[in-house]
């Protein structure tokens, strides 16, 4: 979103209380907006003569002309400016009156910070749509904001085409690929090239959240919903409002959560845990998995109806060994990146090192490559990465325990063995290892382990 300069948007705070003007001014200045304040209607009107104002945060109760009267006056000569009413004394009556008279939105003091930023972000979004006319843009010429997704191989070109095709639609997308292939990057690319890009993309790693916490994680909870819930908590679905929800490792979602999620996708609304009021679901769903979901459906571990809901448009990411041609490009890209980040003069990768990189089978995919390059940049002293700078297992990937060098190597191998012994049953393996499911899951991720 680097193209967007918030200072090009001017917000005027109209409120008779100095502390309110000052705090709103400071709050939005931190976001980079250009701020103007006015303590009464007359001052507000004269500011509007002097300069263009994009958004007005307007108090209703002011001495002299009140906020609603001021809004009417402004509307006589300016229909563009976005007016958001912020008032201490909310009644349904005044709210309806304000909205009918053309207010963009309405909220009461004191307001939750996230609500206030959302209100303003919505307003900014509308302004930008007007200015850039992006609502009318239907196709994408080139993908934006996809720095780390690189590949000239035919497989990756196909992926880029699919991303371009699906991004501007609001379709649910399912991304398939091994661990470390960059599924989250693809999800972000889809989001950043969609009309939802000015709202957040909220990732949820389904495998890393215990099933017992999942409901509150997704839907949030009201104060007192259960023991320990002392405050209202917003769930990921609500945080994704206007944007995208990225459910990573959706194959690990428990059956109860699958039912909950399916219901939201069907009803387009949900309840916070312990809450009465329903909340509208306004997000685009992007899912990813490294397991074969149709097998999981066969085994009864994944609901068939949910599978059909999410399996609308599928993007399959190739593993790194399926696109070996891209390895030099990727390696040089990450070299460049880490060199700059660490401010080190490591200029090149020697041909011998590059050959090793190309011939290795990369079980941990791009993520493993990134780690290898980062490590190489850290330990390198000569300015050119040689085989000595690369992890040992690259020269000959150890299948047996004797090749290991570090504690991490041993841990990785041990976990792999235990998983195989337990037929990759995560709970059982975690039990045997005396660690919890989440920890085991994280280690599987970390070492890029996968079911043979």
């Amino acid at each position: 979103m680097t193209a967007f300069d918030p200072s090009e948007i001017t917000i005027m705070v109209v409120d008779d209380e100095l502390s309110v003007r000052q705090s709103l001014e400071a709050w939005f200045q931190d976001d980079g907006y250009t701020m103007v304040t006015a303590e009464n209607a007359a001052e507000a009107l004269s500011r509007m003569q002097e300069q263009r104002i994009d958004i007005i945060l307007l108090d209703i109760k002011m001495p002299g002309m009140d906020g609603l009267a001021l809004q009417d006056r402004i509307r006589e000569f300016n229909t563009d400016v976005i007016i958001i009413i912020i008032t201490a004394f909310a009644t349904v009556d005044t709210a309806v009156r304000a909205l009918k008279a053309g207010a963009f939105d309405y909220t009461t003091k004191p307001v939750d910070p996230d609500e206030l930023s959302l209100l303003v972000r919505n307003a900014v979004d509308r302004i930008r749509l007007q200015r850039e006319n992006i609502a009318l843009r239907e196709s994408i010429d080139h993908l934006q904001y996809v720095d780390d997704i690189i590949g000239e191989s035919a497989q990756m070109q196909k992926v880029f085409e699919l991303v371009k095709t699906v991004a501007p639609t609001d379709s649910t997308v399912l991304i398939l690929g091994e661990s470390g292939t960059g599924k989250e990057l693809i999800a972000r690319a889809i989001h950043m090239n969609s009309t939802r890009k000015y709202f957040p993309i909220i990732p949820v790693n389904c495998g890393a959240i215990p099933e017992s916490l999942m409901e509150s994680e997704l839907f949030g909870h009201e104060k007192g919903a259960f023991t320990g819930a002392q405050y209202r908590r917003k769930g990921k679905l609500e945080m994704a409002r206007g944007g995208s929800l990225f459910l990573d490792e959706i194959g690990t979602l428990g059956l109860k959560s699958q039912v909950d999620l399916l219901r939201v996708l069907e009803d387009r609304e949900f309840h916070r845990v312990g809450g009465e009021r329903s909340v509208k679901a306004d997000f685009r769903l992007i899912c990813a998995t490294n397991v074969n979901l149709s097998d999981a459906v066969q085994r009864g571990e994944f609901r068939e109806d949910l599978y059909y809901r999410i399996n609308v448009f599928t993007i399959v990411l190739p593993s790194l060994r399926e696109r070996q041609a891209d390895i030099p490009l990727l390696a040089n890209h990450f070299l460049d990146k880490h060199r700059k980040a660490m401010n080190k003069n490591v200029e090149a990768i020697s041909p011998e090192a590059m050959n090793l990189l190309k011939s290795y089978d990369w079980p941990g995919n791009v993520r493993e490559l990134v780690n290898a390059i980062e490590r190489a940049v850290v330990i390198n002293k000569s300015g050119t990465i040689t085989p000595d700078d690369l992890p040992m297992q690259m020269a000959s990937r150890p299948k047996e325990a004797h090749g290991e060098q570090t504690l991490a190597d041993v841990e990785r191998r041990h976990i792999e063995v235990m998983l195989e012994e337990n037929d990759w049953n995560i709970s059982r393996t975690a039990d045997k290892l005396h660690i919890d499911r989440v920890t085991l899951y994280n280690k599987i991720e970390k070492y890029g382990l996968k079911r043979p």
Partner: protein
């Protein structure tokens, strides 16, 4: 060369050693820091009806403590903070000036009914500290997702961002620090 005075406000926040924060300030901002032993009395900034402390007033008392303007002052309090229009703030800073502060009140997992996690808490303190100090060096909110200057209105926003500045912001810091 600036350094950072870390001052606790009201009392020392529980479960926070501040070591991670001090180390982060050194490693990431290349600034020395001193953790001052005596908490500042902040009773005057309490709003009894809201049972919260007025963040802007606390900021003003921090500025007074550092009248020379030579160092940065970073206040940390276990109490909940507010500014008049908002229900709460995590923290506040003076843009391009010397004072910043944040509260650990809403950084505890328990606040959200989640299991106690000292590591999470330390990490959130580090990110809040770096973020607010970033403002004192003139940084505004950054829209690069992997950047600590990303604005956080929700605790999970804090968890989403790294305890580091993006290349852009780092470049800016290099030019002013």
């Amino acid at each position: 060369m600036h350094s950072v005075r870390i001052i606790t406000l009201g009392s020392h926040p529980r479960d926070v050693s501040l070591d991670l924060l001090a180390r982060g300030i050194r490693d990431i901002l290349s600034l020395d820091s001193v953790i001052e032993p005596i908490p500042l009395d902040i009773d005057a900034a309490l709003d009894p009806s809201r049972k919260q402390y007025h963040s802007t007033e606390l900021l003003a008392s921090l500025v007074e403590l550092e009248s020379s303007g030579e160092h940065r002052v970073l206040g940390i309090t276990p109490y909940d903070l507010f500014i008049p229009v908002l229900t709460f703030v995590f923290g506040q800073a003076q843009l391009n000036n010397r004072a910043a502060l944040f509260s650990t009140f809403r950084l505890h997992n328990e606040f959200y009914g989640l299991p106690h996690s000292p590591a999470r808490l330390e990490e959130r303190c580090l990110k809040e500290g770096l973020h607010e100090l970033g403002h004192t060096f003139g940084l505004r909110h950054c829209m690069e997702l992997p950047c600590v200057m990303n604005s956080s209105t929700y605790v999970e926003d804090i968890d989403l961002k790294p305890a580091d500045f993006c290349l852009h912001c780092r470049e800016h810091l290099r030019s002013v620090c």
